[in-house]
């Protein structure tokens, strides 16, 4: 049987509106990358293309191709508009 991990995903701005969630905890297969997590999310929610987003893992910017570990906090970051 495939090994799984639990991660939390936090949503902001348009992604929060689209998911109607601040955060959620999901169970995914071990070995998943940020990108593959997003591919999964896109089957559930109406989300923008990942090309428009940055990725943060445990509050640091990371590559989309980074493998996600058990307990990681994952955030997909829409283009920022502060200031």
């Amino acid at each position: 049987m495939e090994q799984t991990i639990q991660i939390s995903i936090h949503y902001f701005a348009g992604l929060r509106d689209a998911t109607k969630k601040d955060l959620e905890t999901i169970t995914i297969r071990k070995g998943a990358t940020a990108e593959s997590v997003y591919q999964h999310l896109i089957t559930i929610y109406n989300l923008p293309d990942i090309k428009q987003l940055k990725v943060a893992i445990n509050d640091s910017f990371a590559s989309q191709h980074t493998e996600i570990m058990d307990g990681d906090k994952l955030v997909f970051i829409p283009p920022v508009t502060g200031g």
């Binding site: 936090h10 348009g14 970051i77 283009p79 920022v80 508009t81 502060g82 200031g83």
Partner: protein
């Protein structure tokens, strides 16, 4: 200690930095970003700023550090307000002290430019029409 802050409170520069922190500074530059009553032709009543705070503080602090190493300045500070802001409210303030004005201007501009493109803060405009929209980058 970092000099980048996120606050839900009204930004009051006088309360933050009441005096020149040293006596080697001949130049002080301040920038404030303010909520306008219109954007791209739509009438704005207020703005909601949302923030990914852990990363925002980390990235903002990095920007302050970059400014201190890139420019000949003595002090740099930035605070960004989040939550619901009204037209006329200050959303972000940058403050720089330097020996001379060239570096104070350049560092102040660098900080606000970098904050606007790198720090994970988003704004949703609430319009007179009752509608609202998350802005789409490059504000």
């Amino acid at each position: 200690m970092s000099n980048f802050f996120i606050t839900q409170e009204v930004i009051n520069l006088n309360l933050i930095v009441t005096e020149n922190p040293d006596h080697q500074s001949g130049a002080k530059s301040v920038f404030e970003g303010i909520v306008r009553d219109c954007n791209l032709g739509k009438s704005v009543t207020s703005l909601e700023y949302q923030c990914y705070e852990e990363l925002a503080v980390k990235e903002g602090s990095l920007i302050i550090g970059e400014a201190l190493s890139k420019f000949d300045i003595n002090y740099a500070y930035c605070v960004h307000r989040i939550g619901l802001l009204n037209v006329g409210d200050t959303a972000v303030t940058v403050l720089v002290y330097a020996g001379h004005r060239d570096d104070s201007f350049k560092a102040c501009r660098f900080i606000i430019d970098e904050v606007k493109t790198r720090v994970p803060i988003w704004k949703k405009e609430l319009y007179v029409s009752g509608k609202s929209d998350w802005l789409q980058g490059a504000g």
